[in-house]
Symmetry: C2
Amino acid sequence: MTSDTPTPLGELLRLREAHLGKALSIAHGKPLHITHGSMQYLYAADGTRYLDLVNNVSHVGHSNPRVTQACAHQMGLLNTNTRYVYNGLTEYLGRIADTLPETLSVGFLVNSGSEANELAVRIARAHTGAHDMVVVEGAYHGHTGMLVDLSPYKFRGPGGKGEPEPWVHVLPIPDSYRRDGVDFPAEARLAIEGAGRFAGLLIETMLSCAGQVPLPEGYLAAVCRAVREQGGLLIADEVQVGFGRVGSHMWAFEESGVIPDIVVMGKPMGNGHPMAAVFTTPEIAASFEQMEWFSTFGGNPVSCAIGMAVMDCIEHDGLMARAEQLGGRFMQRLVELQDKHPIIGDVRGRGLFLGFELVSDLSTLEPATEEAGQLVNEMRRRGVLLSTDGPHHNVIKIKPPMVLNEEDIDTTLEHLDEVLTSL
Amino acid sequence: MTSDTPTPLGELLRLREAHLGKALSIAHGKPLHITHGSMQYLYAADGTRYLDLVNNVSHVGHSNPRVTQACAHQMGLLNTNTRYVYNGLTEYLGRIADTLPETLSVGFLVNSGSEANELAVRIARAHTGAHDMVVVEGAYHGHTGMLVDLSPYKFRGPGGKGEPEPWVHVLPIPDSYRRDGVDFPAEARLAIEGAGRFAGLLIETMLSCAGQVPLPEGYLAAVCRAVREQGGLLIADEVQVGFGRVGSHMWAFEESGVIPDIVVMGKPMGNGHPMAAVFTTPEIAASFEQMEWFSTFGGNPVSCAIGMAVMDCIEHDGLMARAEQLGGRFMQRLVELQDKHPIIGDVRGRGLFLGFELVSDLSTLEPATEEAGQLVNEMRRRGVLLSTDGPHHNVIKIKPPMVLNEEDIDTTLEHLDEVLTSL
C-alpha cells in the first residue's frame, strides 16, 4: 500500500518526469503537493490549508464521509457490470431521471465526460442519420479523437490543426461582454442554417473554457429552434455546470425553458469517482438500439452507490439552495469590488459557477492576462486556490466545492481586495 | 443510500425497461439477479452460489477486502486530479513501468479501455503523422466512434456499416484451428504492405472477441517487423489478457519476445474500479506533447491506491504462478474431455484465458452454436457461469477471477462432462 507519509516534492517531481506523459501540465504554475482534503479545503505537505475555489469535481466536498462510506460499503458487497441485474442501478437512473424533464427518461452510464459526449454524438448520428456537428467557439468537450475535433479550444490551440474539420461547424461565442451589441440569436441562426444537414448542436449550457460565459437570454431557445428546423438534435453538455451548481435549478438548461434532446453530465456526478451519463428520450434511445452498446465499468454497483450518496448530499444538505445563496453573496461582493477596482471589467455567472474578467482598459477591453496570472499566484500564496480561463486567460474562474461557507467567501473577498490594490 | 434488501426481480426489470438504454443487453439469456460477490463466487438473490468463470475484470476476486480497504482509506484522505502533485501516482506508474520492458517507461492513466485505446491511436497518429490504422478481423477495441470503426466485431455486426472505413485496414484472423495450413505471417505481411502508410497496428496479444485465439508462434514478431517497415507503430491491446492472466508472463506480448511501441491495459487494472492505461517510450510520448492532454479522473489518488492494491494481490498472493498452474490443470482436463466428446473441436489459450470450441462435424468444423448456448445455460443451472464468444458464438470462454482453486476446476469439469454427455 502507498505510504501516507509525504514524499519530498523533489523526488515526486523526478518520478513524474520519468513516468508521466508530459502532455499533462501541472496546476497553479509551481507544483502544489497536496496530502489530504476535507470538504472545501485542501492541505499541502507543508501544512498549509488552501480554500479550494476551483475543483467543481469535488462537488459535495473533498473526502466527503458519506460518499466514502457508500463506496466502501458497496465495494465490500458487490461490484460487477450491467449485464447482470442488481440493486442500485435502476434506482440511481430513476433518481437522476426524476431531476430531468419527464421526456428525458432513458440513461446510459459511462466513466467520464469524454465517454459521455462521445456517446451523445453517436446517439445523435444514429437518430438523425446525419454526420456533421455544430459546436460553439472556445468550447472543450473531451479528449478523444472525435471530441478534440469538436473542441475549438483544442483544435485552434497549441498543437491543433487550426481549422475545423469539414464536418464541424462553429458558432461564434455569444459573449455579451466582449461582443456587446451583437444579435446573438440571429447570428447563430444564420450559422446553423449555413451548416446544412447535421446530427446535432453540442453546447455547454454555460460556457466554461470559453471564459465562464452564461448564455444570453433567449439564446438557447433560439438555437434550439434553428437546430430542430435543420433536423438536428440539441445536446446540452452539463458536465461542468450540472448537479445544482447554478443554484436556481439542478441543470443549467432549465433556466432557458428549453428541453434538450440529449443531456450529458459528468464531473461532479461521483465527487471524483470516474462516472458520467447521457440521458435522452425513449424515442431517440430507440434509434441507437441497432448496434449493441456496452461499457465494462459504466453503471457498476459501486459507481451507482457513490452517485446516490452524492445526490443524498445535494438533497439532504440543501446544497442547491446554498449554491444560490452563497453564489448571490459572492456575486454581490465581486460587483462591489468591481466598483472599486476598474481592472475588473466584468463579473458574471450563476450560483457557484462564477467568473470575473480582468482588463487593462475599460474601453478597448484589452485583456489583463499577466495581472490575472499574478492574482492567481498571490491568492494561492494567501491560501486560496483560483485559476484563469477564457481565450485570453484573463478570466478568474470560481467553481468551488458546494460546501463552502460565508466566512470563506468574505475572507476571499478581503484577500482579493488587497491583491487587486497591490497589482 | 441504496437498500441492500434485494428488490424483486420483476420490479428491477420494469425499472430497467423504463430507464436503461436498450442498446445494452443482459448476460446469460435469462436475467441473473446478483446481490453479492466474494472472490471467485457471485451470489444470487435466491441464495444460489455461482462459480464465476467469465468476469476477468474481478481479477483478484469479487469484493477483495485488500482492494476495498485501500480505496476507503484513500477516499477518506484525498481524491483529486493530476494537475496537483500527490503521493501514489508516480509510485503506481513506476510500479507498472517496472513490469514492462525498460523502454516503455512513460504512462498515461485514464478511466476505461476505450479511453486508453483512443489515446493510443491519438499518440500513434501524432508520432507517425499518418492517419490510417490496421486491425485484426473479429477484434473489439471499444465503444467510442473511432473505436467502433476500428472494431470489425462491431462494424461487421448488427447495426454496423458492414465494410471498414477507407482509413481502416483489416488483417485476416490468424486462427490456426479454422484456417489450418495458412502461412499467417506471410498473409499478414502482404496485407500490411498493401495498407500503405499508416499510424499503427492495434492488435490484441491474444484475440478475445474473435474467439479466445492465441496468436500463432512467430506471428507477432512478423507483423511487428512489417508494421515498422511501413513506418507504423505496434500497439498491443492487453485490456483483456494483461496483469498476469497468461501465467507465464505479466503481459501476453512477452511470450513473443516482441517489444510493442505502445501497450494498452484496462479491465483487471482496478478490479472493477474504472481505470486503464497507456504506456509507451519517452520518444513516442514526446511526439504527443504538442497538444496538452488531460483526464479529469485518470490517475486520481483513489484509482492509484486501488491499482496498487491490485498489484499487491497479484504479487503477494502469487496469482501469476497460480494462473499458470491452475490454467495448466484446466487445459489438461479440457483436453481429456475433448478425447471423450468429439463436439469439442479445439481447446486453446494460456493460463486462465482459455476457450474451447464446439463443432458438430470434426471435418467441416460446422459450428455447434446451439449446443454452445445450451451448455452455457445448463452450466448456469448447475451454478457455473460461462459464456460464448467468437464469430459463430460457439467458443466457450473461460477467464475467471484469478483466485479460484483446484476444486472449482474439478467440479466444473465434472459438470461439463455430464452436460456434454446430455447434449
